[in-house]
Amino acid sequence: MKTKNKVNRRRPSQSWRRRLTPYVFIMPNMAIFITFIIWPALRGIYISFFDSTDGRTFTFVGTANYKAIIGDPTAIEVARATATYVVFYVLIATTLAMFFAIVVNEQKFAKGFFRAVLFLPVMLSPVVVGLIWNDVLDRKVGPLNALLEAVGGGSPGWLIEPKLGMIAVIFVGVWVHLGFYSIILLAGLQGIDRSLLEAASMDGATRGQIIRLIILPLLKPTTLVIIILATIHGFQSFDFIYTLTGGGPFGATTLIVQYIYDHAFQVPIQYGLGSAAGVILFMVIFAFTALNFLLGRKRDAI
């Protein structure tokens, strides 16, 4: 860490009271960290080996919760739905974000306005997102189907048929987060030295060549960041799906976080099983983050 040098490394020779001061400063923050993040995280691992229906009495069951998840056909469905969602979400969101970032970056007229519009959905509450899209995708009175009917496309039941439900959820997920990733990429683009691009265009490189051979390679660190973020967001998606489809139709859009939520807060309550699913989710997110990171690094080395 470069910044370390700036820290005052001299041990203060003052009284014990002076030496206590930094601990007083970090105490409130650390107390909350320990009580509400670290301790629960450790406890989550611990109770994943127990069975509990009330949060008070715990019966040790060994790895039974993990085995139950692996043997649970619902969990397999959830894993499939989560995988489908994450793959399409990450691919579409990062590609579109990259595309929009490059186009908006070249834009001169009303650039700030376009950027603001792109960002607007990021600021909406998941509840409002759910309400908006329920309204828009409504089979009978929604504007989307009205448009489709006008061009003879029928009136698909977006939130009624399982396959369409998944498509709708992926689309809305992308819609919500697109502006967020685009803004990170735009910042990355702004960091690219313009003289490089001017030199290339003087040498007769086409716009496509400049994008492919100069911009994309230079943007790789930022791209890696948004791929990692999108993967994490993808695996954690829950709230707007919950308000949009409630995990339906027929469980088609129930992803892993909702599986955890349902086991913890819907009858029959199974804290242990839910916690085990939480541990699995954490390991999966961790593995994918590490994988993305390593792949990104490796390609840099070549």
């Binding site: 700036k6 001299r10 301790w39 700030g112 306005f113 960002f119 839910g274 997110i285 983050t289």
Partner: protein, 291 residues
């Protein structure tokens, strides 16, 4: 309009020659972007228009784009009915108190990490960074059990405290405070100022840009947060706006047109914040890549 002036005065790499009539590529690009932005905006615009429709308009088929009669009464009704003011004030209260608390404890911790030398500092800092990786959703159950064993379920504090210490907030503020010269703090010490006085009078004012970023993220997140208040607020009097909107709509106790009006009103405060603080929000995201 301002962005228009700004962009024409600056030279962008895409155009070598500043002031000439727009090229065909520029026209195509602007048209394309306008169409794409309309697609992105359309659902929100539709939603806002819907909030001015009465029940008959809302169920008309094919749907009407503009309301036949502008039902402003949706809004006045929303204010009169269903404890809307209460939910709104709950959201305001929780967002305000939580953000102030976050700013206070995060900046205190950041100050210790950036300007003091103490045993365990680096270890604790690494631990803070590691916590960024633990998603709240994963530990929903154990956090809930902790909160419940502390008797904080169904209280404002149960909604406010658990997420008040944000690892990212500490990180942003610490990085910023590293740039404050040590000499400034040393000289205040020589002048006899106490440690807390230095923190409050010198460090906090200087860290204002970073505090603004942390505040914006905290406000956005708290205002919109759904899962946590949903779990903690079991008594209807404690509902925040998102919780109330989701539950009222789900239970069908409130007419849909009123729910729409309530939702649109719940967007307005964050929209205002965005309009006025767009630059800070965008810079903050760009610098830290966090939500």
């Amino acid at each position: 309009m301002r962005s228009l002036k700004l962009s024409s005065s600056k030279q962008k790499w895409t155009s070598a020659s500043g002031k000439r009539p727009p090229t065909r590529a520029e026209i195509i690009r602007t048209t394309f972007l306008t169409v794409m932005m309309l697609i992105i905006l359309a659902p929100v615009v539709w939603f806002v228009l819907s909030s001015f429709k009465d029940i008959t308009d809302l169920s008309s088929r094919p749907p009407k784009i503009l309301p036949t009669h502008w039902a402003f009464e949706n809004y006045t009704e929303a204010f009169k009915m269903y404890n809307y003011k209460r939910y709104f004030m709950n959201s305001v209260f929780i967002t305000t108190v939580a953000t102030l608390l976050t700013l206070l404890i995060n900046s205190m911790a950041a100050y210790a990490f950036s300007k003091y030398n103490f045993r365990g500092r680096d270890g604790l800092f690494v631990m803070t960074l590691a916590m960024i990786m633990i998603p709240l959703q994963v530990i929903l159950i154990p956090i809930y059990l902790v909160v419940s064993s502390l008797g904080l379920v169904n209280t404002y504090w149960g909604m406010i405290i658990p997420a008040a210490a944000t690892p990212t907030g500490v990180f942003i503020l610490r990085q910023y405070m590293l740039t404050i010269p040590d000499e400034l703090i040393e000289s205040a010490r020589i002048d006899g100022a106490g440690e807390f006085r230095i923190f409050a009078r010198i460090v906090l004012p200087l860290a204002r840009p970073a505090l603004a970023v942390v505040a914006i993220f905290s406000i956005l997140w708290r205002w919109n947060d759904f899962i946590w208040p949903l779990l903690i607020a079991q008594d209807e009097r404690l509902y925040t706006l998102p919780v109330a909107l989701a539950l009222l709509n789900g239970q069908l106790v409130v007419p849909y047109n009123i729910v729409l009006a309530m939702s649109v009103m719940s967007i307005i405060p964050v929209l205002f914040m965005f309009v006025f603080m767009q630059r800070q929000i965008i810079q903050g995201i760009a610098q830290t890549g966090l939500k």
